[in-house]
């Protein structure tokens, strides 16, 4: 396959960026999107130019590092797929592909397609955990039976990979899907429920502080989420938030 790429290049956080055109040739349709970028980067290095910087690590769709905005969609075309699992067979020979970083003021650009998603870490630090120490003396794992339905729902919420596609997809750059996935996971389990009230207030406060926008329920986040995290989580978080705000001690 031969393709034309338009790629966002930006030297550093404080530099001005621009779209740059590249041609790539002889790409195997079986290669992944990132492997296609690898080919281009290798060519750039051989020419003595700087390769395109992008985050990636596991390349199997689970670490959440890769984060490219491809043809106007986070992680590009295809349902429930991360950039690293997107294969070139999803594109047409001769196609022009536009590649940008996540765009959100809470995710400042570091270089080219690499952004700083530290805001997500800080939201988790604000309450995305169960306050239990490692002692080896916690009660037996089977002491509290958990209905399979709840455990499965908690798991579904917990499969969020923290990539930030939800924020990139949202016209308000809202992080509600990410935050609500963690809030829901822990609220659905008896172990997490104990702290649910305080958790949701703290995590939402941190989310606002980081500069993420508000949620207007367009559902773009759910549509673009590579892990299929459901909008139901946002509804659950909104309910919890209202309840906790009123009953907050």
């Amino acid at each position: 396959m031969n393709l034309k790429l338009k790629v966002w290049r930006q030297l550093g956080a404080n530099d001005k960026g621009q779209m740059v055109d590249y041609d790539v040739k002889d790409i195997s349709p079986d290669s992944s999107f990132l492997e296609m970028i690898d080919v281009l980067n290798l060519e750039l290095v051989v020419k003595g130019e700087e390769p395109i910087a992008f985050d990636h690590d596991c390349r199997e769709g689970i670490c959440g590092s890769c984060s490219m905005y491809i043809n106007g969609q986070p992680h590009g075309p295809g349902d429930r797929v991360t950039t690293c699992q997107l294969h070139m067979r999803s594109f047409k020979d001769g196609e022009t592909i536009t590649i940008e970083p996540w765009r959100a003021s809470a995710f400042p650009i570091i270089k080219d397609l690499v952004v700083d998603r530290g805001a997500f870490d800080r939201i988790i630090q604000a309450g995305g955990y169960v306050s239990v120490n490692t002692s080896g003396n916690t009660q037996d794992a089977n002491a509290i039976p958990i209905p399979k339905h709840d455990a499965d729902a908690a798991f579904d919420a917990a499969t969020c990979i923290g990539c930030g596609a939800c924020v990139a997809a949202c016209k308000n750059a809202s992080a509600m899907l990410f935050v609500s996935a963690k809030v829901s996971q822990l609220d659905l389990l008896p172990q997490g429920k104990v702290e649910s009230d305080q958790r949701v207030l703290n995590m939402v406060a941190q989310m606002d502080k980081e500069g993420f926008g508000n949620c207007t329920n367009t559902g773009a986040c759910e549509a673009e989420c590579p892990k299929g995290i459901s909008l139901e989580n946002i509804a659950r978080m909104n309910r919890l938030y209202s309840k906790s705000s009123i009953s907050s001690k």
Binding site: S28, Y129, G136
Partner: protein
């Protein structure tokens, strides 16, 4: 006293850990506040250790090269985590988990460490559930289990095919809680480039801020390495792109012995490679072997027809298929350990029975499982058992609920639907059992320097059983290191803050900066990847699944050549002053180019076959690995003696007190 004193406590195997824990020196809470610990890596081992050390009261500084601690490659572990809970009542016990692990490791692991691992395994599950890890459950609300290779009980806890993700996010949440309190200072996008030794003790590290390029000094009273394994020395592996040996390698060059580098796990169920563009290989969880049956055509002409596309696997009659694992190993069948399954696949493919274009693939077939599950569902829901279409649909639903995400992943990569046609799989480099040598306290041969998780060597011998990596990572991080490190830190309570302006820090920083400068100013002509690919090819061809003396000697010579050319001709674009991924890669590949040689040297000195180390000269008439317990029941720990100088080999004799040394059989 030998330098390789493992300091295994005296007493009965089952009492060693309790006794030892009871006698470890403790540090009082007020003093812990004055003690700093550095942790490198935030996978299951590093993340859990950081959290627990901080909970105990130490000041922890944690480093990861990724943009967040949640991205460490433990996240990609799929199948599950073992624990001797015996929830299924199938006769499991600490002893059995211990026995299976020692046998699975082909009697090359340290008994006492493995026993301790089995003892704390149950606590791990309790801890994770308490943290809100959503393990799979049965309808009664209790935890579900499944089976893994090399084992005759169901002791594997899981969360669909994403167990590693859920456990890592559990550890990450515990770590995040400590970051919030300030007890852990987290350094994302930082890479450790050297360990600083002062008066024989590890006192800090030199790290590079990967965003600004700044070289930083960090001091502590102890340094814990949890950087994972070094499978990327093969270029293609199931490891993440950034997985590297750098922390362990720098420690090796500063005096920490490197043990059993040649013990590598080649995982039997990976998606076969498709072409030269490939940057990494993807694992299909071993849990699939619970229900999938592995086969190749019985007749070579059928294999040829399948390869050229004139025959579909689903059209091949049962009696023309060779379920070779079930044939060769009737007792364990498709659930033999990984090394055995990998070698058997290679044997069939080498003999010409491979089923994809490259001839390097075998089938993993779920048709029988679909039928079996479908019939159970039909009975449960009172559906006519002759309605095959309905039975197939019901069966597929059950298979989907168990392995849905894996099937999806397979389809995305291969563009074939595994519900309709059997999966193709082939072995790939997955895990390294070797690593930094540690004693019973997990301390390396350098005082105050620890190594945990995949980065150390002690628990899996020459072959790791499935679902044991997660167990070991969390055991080390939550339940072992935080206690054993006290034994050392108790002597440090009056040391005071370690200054970073010591001459040892100056020297280490200078060395690191010099090397970076050399890479950036080398102005060669070839990109880093080219050298990495060449190294990987030598490793795979000559130090891979089957090794022999001639090939290993050639590999050593060839790696030397590639290394020399690398330093002469590598080109690293950009500057050392900012974000530069080519520079990061160059440093890691430079270390792999040194490790590769030690790896081959280790394989060359081990004149036996054991676990993942298969020497063609040493096999039984049936082609099984032939161990030599008389001469090789030892840990090979290598001591760095200088660049281009042969390292010194130290041997830790392995004593088997609780389990008799036996030929491993899965027949």
């Amino acid at each position: 006293m030998s330098v390789l004193n493992a300091k295994v406590p005296e007493g009965e195997m089952s009492e060693k850990w309790e006794n030892h824990k009871g006698h470890i020196d403790l540090v009082n809470p007020a003093n812990k506040r004055n003690i700093d610990v550095i942790v490198i890596g935030t996978g299951l081992a590093g993340g859990s250790a950081s959290a627990t050390l901080a909970e105990l009261g130490y000041n922890v500084k944690t480093f990861c090269f990724q943009d967040s601690p949640r991205r460490a490659h433990s996240i990609a572990a799929q199948g599950g985590i073992n624990a001797a809970k015996n929830y299924q009542g199938d006769g499991d016990s600490n002893y059995r988990l211990f026995y299976d692990t020692v046998k699975g490791g082909d009697y090359r692991s340290r008994e006492a460490n493995v026993y301790r691992l089995a003892q704390v395994s149950g606590n791990i599950i309790d801890q994770c559930v308490a943290q809100g890890v959503p393990f799979a459950r049965e309808y009664g609300g209790l935890l579900d289990n499944r089976s893994f290779g090399g084992v005759l009980v169901s002791r594997t806890f899981y969360a669909a095919g994403q167990t590693g993700q859920q456990l890592l996010l559990g550890a990450y949440s515990a770590l995040s809680r400590q970051i919030a309190t300030g007890k852990v200072e987290m350094f994302n996008r930082h890479e450790m480039l050297d360990v600083v030794i002062v008066d024989g003790k590890a006192r800090g590290i030199i790290a590079r801020n990967l965003i600004t390029g700044e070289i930083e000094r960090h001091s502590a009273h102890a340094v814990v390495m949890a950087g994972g394994g070094y499978g990327n020395v093969f270029f293609l592996s199931t490891n993440a792109m950034g997985s590297n040996v750098t922390a362990a390698w720098k420690a090796y060059k500063k005096g920490a012995f490197f043990a059993n580098p040649c013990y590598t796990q080649i995982h039997p169920t990976c998606i076969p490679r498709s072409g030269d563009h490939q940057s990494k290989l993807t694992l299909m969880s071993e849990s699939l072997r619970n229900d999938g049956r592995i086969w190749v055509p019985l007749h070579i002409e059928d294999a040829e027809k399948i390869r050229n596309g004139s025959l579909k696997p689903t059209d091949l009659a049962e009696d023309r298929r060779d379920y070779y694992l079930e044939r060769r190993y009737p007792a364990f069948g498709n659930l033999v350990p990984r090394d055995v399954a990998s070698r058997a696949a290679k044997e069939r493919c080498d003999a010409g029975f491979g089923v994809n274009k490259t001839g390097e693939a075998v089938y993993l077939d779920f048709a029988a499982a679909v039928l079996r599950y479908g019939k159970i569902q039909a009975r449960l829901h009172d559906i006519d058992e002759t309605n095959t279409a309905e039975i197939e649909r019901l069966g597929k639903d059950v298979v989907k609920s168990k392995y849905g995400n894996l099937f999806e992943m397979y389809e995305k990569i291969v563009d074939q639907n595994p519900y309709e046609t059997p999966m193709m799989i082939y072995p790939a480099v997955h895990y390294t059992m070797g690593g930094t040598w540690v004693d019973y306290n997990l301390m390396t041969s350098v005082e105050g320097l620890y190594s945990i998780g995949e980065a150390n060597f002690s628990d899996h011998g020459a072959n790791r059983l499935g679902a044991s990596a997660l167990m070991q990572g969390l055991a080390d991080g939550y339940f072992v290191l935080p206690y054993t490190i006290g034994d050392y830190l108790a002597k440090e309570i009056s040391t005071g803050k370690i200054p970073t302006d010591l001459p040892e820090f100056d020297a280490a920083e200078k060395e690191v900066a010099g090397r970076i400068e050399k890479l950036i100013n080398n102005k060669g002509t070839k990109p880093v990847d080219e050298f990495h690919k060449r190294l990987g090819k030598v490793m795979w061809d000559k130090v891979g699944m089957a090794r022999n003396e001639k090939g290993l000697k050639e590999a050593i010579a060839e790696i030397k050549v590639i290394r020399e050319e690398f330093w002469k001709d590598v080109f690293v674009p950009g500057s050392d002053k900012g974000f530069n991924q080519e520079l990061e890669k160059a440093g890691r590949v430079a270390d792999f180019l040194e490790l590769g040689e030690l790896f081959a040297l280790d394989a060359l000195q081990r004149n036996e076959s054991c676990g993942g180390h298969f020497r063609e000269e040493y096999k039984t008439p049936e082609g099984e690995a032939l161990r030599d317990d008389k001469d090789f029941a030892y840990v090979a720990a290598w001591e760095y003696k200088g660049d281009n100088v042969e390292p010194a080999l130290h041997k830790e004799e392995l004593k088997f007190e609780a389990i008799a040394l036996k030929t491993r059989s899965y027949k």
